[in-house]
């Protein structure tokens, strides 16, 4: 497995496109977060100094949403290259055990998304401190439970959607299918919110967004999104396990 992960790592980082794209993701997410937090007077109708420290950090962390979407696109493009560039022939000739091949890719993207997520969270957090300092506000303190929960909860988002995209891209054998699936899963809760409470009550607790909001503490207490920590983690794992299993089974049956 170590060899497969090393090879998958090389597949990503040998490409100039990957290196540039990932740097771009970090840069643009950081800039977007900064812009979101200094334009609250336009977007929320409240000046930044009227916001609490958590609200400033929260506005800045919207950069993580953008990073998640950019990571979905990157993952879809990278994984689907096996099929579009037909490298799957040489990949499976080297690693014919398809479950092993899938897991190698899955773990590589898991590690990549964790590193990217931790790096971005750190940078955005530091950027929030600068914004707070510039506005003579108190610094954000990780000793504060709400801030800590928010930061840790948000960190899960890019990792989750990245892994979902790996499985979906292998299942659909295309970047379009993989990206569309993850973005639909991300966007469906907004659609559900348009339905009556009875529908929301049934569907929202099963959506990954509810789990992520609950983990980050942004799900309002008593709302249909609010789940316990254990339930949230379990729900996210269930989504990942089910999608990975479906992808592995279809991948094993497929002829190339």
């Amino acid at each position: 497995m170590k060899n497969i992960i090393q090879a998958e790592h090389k597949k990503i980082f040998f490409l100039r496109f990957s290196r540039v794209y990932l740097l771009f993701t970090i840069g643009i997410s950081l800039v977007a977060g900064f812009i979101f937090s200094v334009t609250t007077h336009v977007t929320q109708g409240r000046s930044i100094t009227d916001l609490s420290v958590l609200e400033v950090v929260s506005a800045n962390m919207l950069g993580m949403d953008l990073a998640s979407i950019l990571l979905i696109i990157f993952t879809g493009l990278s994984v689907s290259r096996e099929f579009t560039a037909e490298t799957i022939y040489s990949s499976l000739a080297v690693v014919p055990d398809r479950k092993k091949f899938f897991m190698g890719k899955y773990i590589t993207f898991f590690l990549l998304s964790i590193v990217l997520s931790v790096l971005l969270i750190t940078l955005i957090y530091l950027s929030s401190q600068i914004i707070l300092m510039m506005n003579n506000m108190d610094a954000a303190n990780l000793a504060n439970t709400d801030i800590r929960q928010f930061v840790l909860g948000i960190m899960v988002m890019p990792v989750f959607y990245c892994l979902l995209t790996v499985a979906a891209t292998i299942f659909f054998k295309s970047s379009g299918g993989g990206m569309a699936f993850s973005i639909i899963v991300m966007a469906v809760p907004a659609l559900i919110n348009m339905f009556p409470d009875t529908v929301q009550k049934i569907l929202l607790p099963f959506m990954p967004q509810s789990a992520i909001h609950s983990l980050s503490g942004t799900a309002a207490e008593g709302s249909f999104e609010a789940l316990g920590t254990g339930t949230s983690i379990g729900l996210l794992l269930l989504w990942l396990v089910i999608t990975a299993l479906i992808a592995i089974i279809s991948f094993q049956k497929r002829d190339f």
Binding site: Q6, F14, E86, T87, I88, A93, D97, F256
Partner: protein, 311 residues
């Protein structure tokens, strides 16, 4: 050793490979021939686990390809010369294959030298010609120093130097005791390099024998004889089971009797022979003879014929 037992593949009810049972022998170059759609690539893909057989099995030293610990040291294959990320350099491509297999990096450099790609190792593959891509595919196949080498249409895109190089390479691999399985539409090349021929048509095994055996069993193989008394010789040879045709210039074309037998029979009857020549059909002629009427795709104007199966 690769062994196939009743290997079958169907696609939506259409049989692509039908009950194929054969062995790929070590120390020999085996030509894998057949018209388009005969099932050659499908068979090769089933050997490598890229396609799942509908029935039957294929094993490498008793194990399926998927069960092998380090598969590319058992079987190295070139299935698709384009199966390389075009944005990678030749060296990067080989290095990541080596990394995935746990093969030392230096082996990649060695293969670049072997395949003549040393000077372009830092160039991205999208700048490569088809021939260079084929060389890279062959380098990938040989990276693990495998016991069996499978090459699907390796001559495609190769220039004269490349063809000469590949000819020598495959012969050397066989001399080193490796099993080499090559599919190609270049009959003249196959005749030059292959020790054994496997011919498929519409998924069925038509022939599995040496080129000499194949020629001997061919309808196109005969002995050309010129004699002082054709009538006497015809009656003599017919008695011994020969099938004889007489050409306009009085030459006899004798089938089903060996040259030596004809010579001895003529000597017994004191018949002077002016010519006694063994006529061997080319591989292309043999191929056409065996696969006529067994092609899925036929060009307009191709005359109908009868294919047959050799045993």
């Amino acid at each position: 050793m690769i062994e196939m037992k009743n290997l079958t593949k169907t696609f939506k009810g259409k049989i692509s490979v039908n009950q194929l049972s054969l062995v790929i022998h070590p120390g020999a170059v085996t030509g894998f021939l057949g018209p388009n759609g005969a099932g050659k690539s499908t068979t090769m893909k089933m050997i490598l686990g890229l396609m799942n057989p509908s029935e039957g099995s294929v094993t490498i030293d008793g194990q399926s390809y998927k069960e092998l610990k380090q598969p590319i040291s058992k079987v190295g294959a070139l299935i698709n010369g384009n199966a390389v990320n075009p944005q990678l350099t030749a060296k990067q491509h080989l290095e990541l294959i080596a990394a995935a297999s746990g093969i030392p990096k230096k082996q990649a450099e060695k293969m670049l030298r072997t395949t003549g790609l040393e000077n372009v190792r830092h160039k991205q593959v999208h700048t490569f010609s088809l021939g260079m891509k084929q060389r890279l595919g062959i380098a990938t196949a040989l990276l693990g120093n495998p016991e069996t080498v499978i090459l699907d249409e390796p001559f495609n895109g190769l220039d004269v130097d490349g063809i000469h190089w590949l000819r020598e390479l495959t012969k050397k691999l066989a001399q080193d005791g490796k099993a080499v399985l090559i599919s190609s539409h270049l009959m003249s090349e196959m005749q030059m390099i292959a020790d054994r021929m496997i011919i498929l048509a519409q998924g069925n095994l038509i022939a599995d024998m040496t080129v000499t055996e194949l020629a001997e069993k061919s309808l196109g193989s005969y002995v050309k004889v010129s004699c002082e008394n054709n009538e006497e010789l015809i009656s003599l040879l017919t008695e011994k089971g020969a099938d004889i045709k007489q050409s306009k210039n009085e030459e006899l074309h004798v089938h089903h009797l060996e040259m030596k037998q004809i010579g001895l029979l003529a000597k017994e009857k004191n018949l002077a022979l002016y010519e006694l020549t063994k006529i061997q059909p080319s591989l292309e002629q043999l191929f056409v003879e065996l696969t006529e009427d067994k092609m899925d795709y036929v060009s307009a104007g191709t005359p109908p014929g009868k294919g047959r199966k050799l045993k």
